[in-house]
């Protein structure tokens, strides 16, 4: 058992940190105020990812055959930690390189690979994830958006909701029901849908957690070529499971939480509060939650590096990650008091970000269900 990073990964982290420090603009705190989906951050991410790609670092975790460097899962984790630790300068493009690209490599045709992978690798494409629907949230397999075959086209009707980055996306990783008679996990297919097709409309839903919107996407007789289907027809659930396993520990939330905690301690020091035992206690407690989350995530990376199939360790790490983020978020308010209510403060920015940790990409309750059945093997009803 070895808890230390390899000397190569340590050296790489130092290099990456220097790069980030030299590259991020002065106004980064302002730019990143609304998170990866904020307009300013999305715009900046294009420039940043192009630069990252020039360094050969945007898709180094991809196989060489697709222009990557076959970097280890650990190297990829260093990137995730440094990016998320710095409020994710890749904006929505983190998602594109983390799981959209790998899913296309795994399930895609040669044409699909040739079309997307080089552009993703240069940081050019922005994608969104069209999974959730108004009637299909946690119960994703209840999705109803239809794509009915008409010759060599699909005709798509229905709607998706909570689709992050959709207002900036060139493509949507969309899951639809291709067999109208089907129910549940059968009869679903995944589509790589261009967002500029006629019949796609967006509705803005004002969000509570910042000056930005959620979106609902409507598809009205949208015609897409059959060639944009990813993987086998009606068997798209396999694609969904594959992508979710990548997504669930994609962002290194603990790294950001750790850095925010450090700034909280500094703020407490400036106000002469850092020697207060009750403050030390709260800081230490939050830090224990953050470090537990880090180690549980590292275990998932360790297993992935060793070629293991996804295990419930992923769900365990997710729950611990959510607790860590929430613990630090709550502490932001406790330490800053009412001052943390002011918009545009760093405290408020992190608090807003921490709020949805237990909902996005699978709720805590859903993770707990999976731990109960797959890890503890508790009986079903």
């Amino acid at each position: 058992m070895e808890f230390d990073w390899s000397p190569e990964d340590q050296a790489y982290r130092a290099e990456l940190r220097a790069f980030i420090a030299a590259t991020l603009p002065q106004s980064w705190a302002e730019i990143s105020q609304e998170g990866p989906g904020g307009a300013a951050q999305v715009a900046y991410s294009e420039e940043f990812c192009a630069e990252l790609a020039r360094q050969g670092w945007l898709t180094q975790h991809w196989p060489e055959a697709y222009g990557g460097k076959d970097a280890s899962s650990w190297r990829h984790a260093v990137v995730s930690e440094e990016m998320w630790g710095n409020a994710e300068p890749r904006g929505p493009r983190y998602m594109t390189v983390n799981w959209v690209g790998p899913s296309i490599m795994h399930f895609g045709t040669e044409e699909q690979k040739a079309l997307h992978l080089p552009r993703i690798a240069r940081g050019e494409e922005v994608w969104c994830q069209g999974f959730s629907e108004p009637e299909a949230g946690s119960d994703l397999a209840a999705l109803r958006t239809l794509a009915i075959r008409d010759g060599d086209e699909y005709v798509i009707n229905g709607s998706k909701i909570w689709t992050s980055y959709v207002n900036h996306a060139h493509y949507c990783f969309l899951i639809v029901r291709t067999d109208p008679e089907s129910k549940g996990r059968r009869g679903i297919s995944a589509l790589l849908l261009p967002m500029d097709l006629p019949g796609i409309e967006l509705r803005e839903i004002p969000g509570l957690l910042g000056k930005k919107y959620f979106h609902e996407v409507f598809f009205r007789d949208v015609r897409a070529p059959v060639s944009c289907r990813l993987g086998p027809e009606h068997e798209g659930w396999e694609v969904v499971t594959y992508t979710l396993a990548y997504e669930r520990v994609g962002a290194a939330h603990y790294e950001r939480a750790e850095r925010v905690l450090d700034t909280l301690a500094e703020a407490a020091r400036k106000r002469g509060l850092l020697e207060d035992p009750s403050i030390l206690e709260r800081l230490g407690q939050a830090r224990a939650a953050v470090e537990a989350s880090r180690l549980l995530t590292h275990r998932v990376i360790d297993l992935r590096e060793k070629g293991s199939r996804p295990t419930p360790d992923t769900n365990i790490a997710r729950v611990a990650g959510t607790w860590a983020v929430r613990a630090v978020g709550d502490l932001v308010h406790e330490l800053h008091g009412a001052a943390a209510l002011a918009y545009d403060t760093e405290a408020d920015g992190y608090y807003r970000l921490s709020q949805w940790a237990g909902v996005a990409s699978g709720t805590t309750e859903v993770q707990l269900n999976l731990i109960a059945s797959h890890q503890l093997r508790l009986p079903r009803e």
Binding site: E2, A265, L280, E281, A292, A320, L378
Partner: protein, 318 residues
């Protein structure tokens, strides 16, 4: 990074588990509990097999020692395993004969194995003090918890002062030991409870099929695993002030939660001495108080990171 046990570590874990299968386990713990006895036979077996000195052996270290402590706690061994296999070797570079007691240096404090121990390591603030306990000077204290407890007399022999900085060393390794014992006991209590709710049927179904219980068990699983990783990392870091305090903060903070939840979910049966759950849970209650409990471990973790202080104990010397 590599988060699997290597072959040697796996072999050590297997070997100590094999020994424990013979010499420890819940039935043995219940037998001993009748007259608050210390398991001298188990202590001797562990000592003879070399498990107590494993932290000092070439090619092994604190991680291996912590694996032993965790396994003994899982098997409900009634021995001073954390003190004998982790704390004392770290301070003395040897394993003392017989049981070892750890004392925070607080007046009148309750001390685990005080009566049975042949020596005590005392937190004197800047220095740790090794006090021989010949002639059993301690008085037993009755508790409802199945761990022999006692009090040391106000005046003790001088003892051997272990030098500047040894107090901090004691606290660091003590925290690591607390964490390792907590992890072992929590793991066993959780596994036992999962088994219980899987078999126990009410309303025509296993009670473990109720989501209200499933989620709480799953949360405990997340907590126990998180605490275990923190503990193993602290061992790997030779109980660095921060890593050890984080491990103790997490595990001692979780211990009460696990105690409460496991007893809630096993109903009345869990509150009897006929069901073995109490063997582990009552130890958790003792462990969670040691060295000031989660409150002081959390403060210690924060001090180590942001104030770069040595940590503080509970005693007068601090």
């Amino acid at each position: 990074m590599d988060l699997d046990l290597n072959q040697d570590q796996q072999a050590i874990q297997d070997a100590v588990e094999a020994l424990l299968a013979k010499h420890a386990g819940p039935e043995r713990a219940v037998e001993l509990q009748v007259d608050d006895a210390y398991d001298h036979a188990l202590h001797q077996a562990l000592e003879e097999a070399g498990f107590l000195e494993i932290g000092l052996v070439d090619g092994a270290g604190w991680l291996e020692a912590v694996l032993v402590v965790e396994a003994v706690a899982r098997a409900a061994g009634t021995v001073s395993i954390g003190a004998s296999a982790v704390v004392a070797p770290a301070l003395l570079a040897r394993v003392p004969r017989g049981a070892v007691a750890l004392a925070g240096g607080e007046e009148g404090e309750l001390i685990r194995h005080a009566v049975q121990a042949s020596c005590a390591l005392l937190d004197g603030g800047e220095e740790a003090i090794l006090v021989p306990l010949e002639g059993s000077p301690a008085t037993p204290v009755a508790t409802n918890y199945v761990v022999p407890m006692g009090r040391l007399p106000g005046s003790l022999p001088e003892g051997e002062r272990l030098g500047p900085g040894s107090g901090e060393l004691l606290r660091r390794f003590w925290r690591l030991a607390i964490a390792a014992e907590c992890v072992g006991a929590m793991r066993a209590a959780l596994d036992l409870t999962v088994e219980y709710v899987t078999n126990r049927r009410q309303f025509g179904r296993p009670v473990g099929s109720f989501q209200a219980l499933q989620h709480r068990l799953a949360e405990c699983e997340v907590l126990v695993q998180g605490g275990r990783w923190l503990t193993l990392r602290a061992a790997h870091r030779a109980a660095s002030a921060e890593a050890a305090a984080l491990a103790a903060a997490h595990t001692a903070g979780t211990a009460l939660r696990v105690f409460n939840e496991m007893h809630q979910m096993t109903g009345a049966m869990g509150f009897t001495r006929e069901h073995p759950l109490h063997i582990w849970t009552t130890r958790l209650h003792v462990l969670r108080h040691e060295l000031g409990g989660a409150r002081l471990h959390r403060q210690a973790a924060a001090r180590a990171r942001w104030l770069h202080h040595t940590t503080q104990g509970v005693g007068r010397g601090n």
